[in-house]
């Protein structure tokens, strides 16, 4: 399937007026002759880039001793030369290097303008042992972008689906906010956007948040999925389920995900597993690699080095 969302009948504004207009035709007729007339819903294979156009990053010469970020950048540029369906993006997280600084979480919040209550990049914390033999373990856990995602199968409207390159994405304009996918995800990697604001309960004067720079974060558009969305009351993505998308708006323009570039311990790696020369391909070939809950057969694309 190579159709884009633009080629499909676009879902226009989904407000009340549209709802009423649509229901006039749909409600009665649909129930009786429901199955035959329903348009077969297929997941769009790409989301329109309204503000950012994908481009191919130039190939880089990499010194073997250079920072892994430079090498991954080169791997990324090489992968972008290939058609989308020939790429297989994966993330590798070295648990031995993670110090639990949460820089990745913060970078993700800043990159995607995440509101309170929405966490794309979790760092699960665990305390092991008893004093004095005690340690803390940190497990960064974004959406695992399963090859067999249990969350996409349950969506009643195909609002969440797997792209050709394996990244599991959301179509905010189609999502009805039923939250079925949240319950279906065995990794608790999906979050509902209740519409909370970073400035809730912050003192205001004349409807302006007090303090220099107040309201700035809220007013900036988020470029998730390459769509410039300014946060507005009860408009998507408020009322939608949200999740990590490996920063596809960055990947598509040749940039690594925000969590990867900001990891102070270089514990997060990202790249194309279909490229045998890539760093991530090397890393997952090591014997100390594992994935979460393998017994479920979900085939996560996030690997851990232990």
């Amino acid at each position: 399937m190579t159709k884009t969302i633009e080629q499909e009948k676009a879902i226009p504004d989904t407000g009340r007026r549209n709802f009423l207009r649509s229901m006039v035709g749909v409600a009665g007729v649909a129930a009786v002759t429901a199955v035959p007339i329903a348009k077969k819903s297929t997941p769009p294979q790409s989301i329109p880039l309204t503000t950012i156009q994908p481009r191919s990053a130039p190939a880089l010469e990499v010194d073997p001793d250079t920072d892994v970020l430079i090498r991954m950048q080169a791997d990324l540029a090489r992968a972008l030369q290939k058609p989308m369906n020939e790429r297989r993006w994966i993330m590798v997280i070295d648990l031995r290097k993670c110090v639990g600084c949460h820089a990745c979480t913060i970078a993700c919040v800043a990159e995607n303008k995440l509101p309170p209550g929405v966490v794309y990049r979790q760092v699960v914390e665990q305390e092991i042992g008893t004093y004095p033999n005690v340690t803390r373990r940190f497990m960064p856990r974004p959406c695992l972008h399963c090859d067999e995602p249990p969350c996409t199968a349950v969506c009643p409207v195909n609002a969440t689906y797997k792209r050709a390159d394996g990244i599991v994405v959301m179509d905010y304009d189609r999502c009805i906010g039923c939250r079925y996918c949240i319950n279906a995800c065995p990794y608790n990697s999906r979050y509902y956007d209740f519409g909370f604001s970073q400035y809730d309960e912050t003192p205001t004067e004349n409807e302006v948040v007090l303090g220099e720079g107040g309201n700035v974060l809220e007013m900036l558009p988020s470029f998730e999925y390459g769509q410039a969305r300014t946060r507005k009351r009860e408009e998507s993505p408020i009322g939608n389920v949200r999740k990590c998308h490996f920063c596809i708006h960055r990947i598509d323009v040749g940039e690594l995900p925000a969590c990867t570039t900001t990891c102070i311990g270089r514990a997060t790696y990202f790249g194309d597993a279909n490229d045998p020369e890539s760093l991530v391909s090397e890393l997952i070939a090591s014997p100390n690699v594992m994935r979460l809950r393998e017994e479920l057969g979900t085939q996560p694309k996030v690997y851990y080095l232990t």
């Binding site: 749909v26 819903s41 929405v118 009643p156 009805i176 065995p186 519409g195 939608n240």
Partner: protein, 406 residues
């Protein structure tokens, strides 16, 4: 509510009676008061989304989803049992007259269910997406479509009851037969919506679809029994009492079967004690809301009705009280099926829950006042629909008539 012999409304209404305070007027007032008070919750829901609720990303489904399942059980179960008894087993000549009131009740319940599940959506005005962009691999799609089809069947049957012609009555009989597999499918699919979820180990498996079916049969029989005893309009003689008693016995039998089935299912989960599964059940039985299960469900919903139904002198009124108690308290069952398995995240993923604090990130749940108010609004709406049908459209039980022939 009057259950006397039916007399056309026009004959009973006079200038003086319009001013007189009657139980019916009190009920209308009660309905509108509920609608008005519940309307506060509705306004909050429409203006602030799901923020006034206690839902979170760890417990995304709560009171409204539980209430929806409960109402589906009542709606489908009562009609299923009625259709089976009247059309399949050709039960006595007393029961068929209840058709109009039962269909009316089902429509009222349907209204409540749709309001609650619609308002539970993050984008209620996109509900039509399920009809236009269905993904048939999702059981939720099937549930919604089956419910829409069921709604059409139900409304058609109600229309036929309002404008009965021989031709339409034949159609109504066929629709009754169609409603049997349709109703089973709806209830079983509603259970399967939970059964396929691997993210919540307590839900996953084939048990819930079967429990949902059993729950619909028990709750439906209770509703049918209650309605028959309370609203039956014919002479309340021997045939009436015999029918009430048979319905009561059927209700008790199904109740016992349901109790045994749920006990067995619970033991299978509790005995190995795997935390991901057993914790949910332990929360139900011994958690902070233990009283929902022990007091409401087992005490008032099972033990008291059983005692009422087992005593030798069980009058029709006693049967109605038993059924009514069961119906009211049975909401505890979907609440306990849906909420505790989501709370398990606090035990099995403690590291995640403590790592992040903030709105929408708590692994606990108790419905807020706003959620209760919206529920009150939905129930009041359904109640008013019933009152309108019963008092204005005169959808009251007909006097005894034989079951319709095929």
């Amino acid at each position: 509510m009057s259950t006397e012999t039916i007399v056309p409304k026009a004959q009973t209404t006079s200038k003086t009676s319009k001013l007189r305070w009657t139980p019916d007027k009190a009920l209308w007032l009660l309905g509108f008061a509920g609608l008005l008070i519940g309307g506060i919750g509705l306004m909050q829901r429409l203006m602030d989304g799901l923020r006034p609720t206690d839902l979170s990303s760890f417990v995304p489904w709560g009171l409204w989803v539980a209430a929806y399942e409960y109402l589906v059980w009542l709606e489908v179960g009562s009609l299923f049992m009625f259709t089976v008894l009247v059309y399949v087993f050709k039960w006595n000549s007393v029961l068929p007259g209840m058709a109009r009131t039962l269909y009316l009740t089902a429509v009222a319940i349907l209204g409540m269910a749709l309001i609650l599940i619609g308002l539970d959506l993050g984008h209620p005005f996109r509900a039509w997406h399920v009809l236009v962009y269905p993904q048939w691999g999702s059981l939720m799609t099937w549930m919604i479509w089956l419910h829409v089809i069921y709604m059409v069947v139900l409304l058609t049957k109600l229309f036929i009851e309002l404008r009965p012609t021989p031709k339409l009555k034949r159609l109504g009989t066929w629709l009754s037969y169609i409603s049997l597999p349709l109703g089973i499918a709806l209830v079983v699919v509603a259970g399967s919506v939970f059964g396929v979820v691997i993210g919540r180990p307590t839900w996953q498996g084939s048990a819930l679809p079967l429990y949902f079916l059993l729950s619909a049969l028990v709750a439906g029989t209770a509703l049918l029994t209650f309605q028959f005893v309370v609203f039956y309009s014919g002479p309340r003689g021997e045939a009436y009492l015999a029918t009430a008693r048979r319905l009561g016995q059927l209700f008790l039998g199904l109740l016992i079967v349901g109790l045994i089935a749920s006990a067995l299912g619970g033991l299978v989960i509790l005995y190995p004690g795997v935390p991901a599964q057993a914790t949910a059940l332990q929360l139900t039985l011994f958690g902070p809301y233990w009283w929902v299960y022990w007091v409401f469900h087992i005490g008032l919903g099972v033990i008291v009705p059983t005692i009422l139904l087992l005593t030798r002198t069980h009058t029709a009124r006693r049967i109605a009280v038993a059924a009514g108690l069961f119906i009211i308290t049975f909401i505890a069952v979907p609440l306990n099926i849906i909420i505790p398995p989501q709370l398990v995240v606090e035990v099995v993923e403690k590291g995640l829950v403590i790592a992040y604090q903030g709105p929408g990130l708590h692994a606990s749940y108790f419905p807020t006042l706003s959620e209760w108010l919206v529920t009150l609004f939905a129930l009041s709406f359904g109640f008013l629909v019933f009152l309108y049908g019963y008092n204005v459209l005169w959808l009251r039980p007909r006097a005894a008539e034989p079951a319709e022939e095929n």
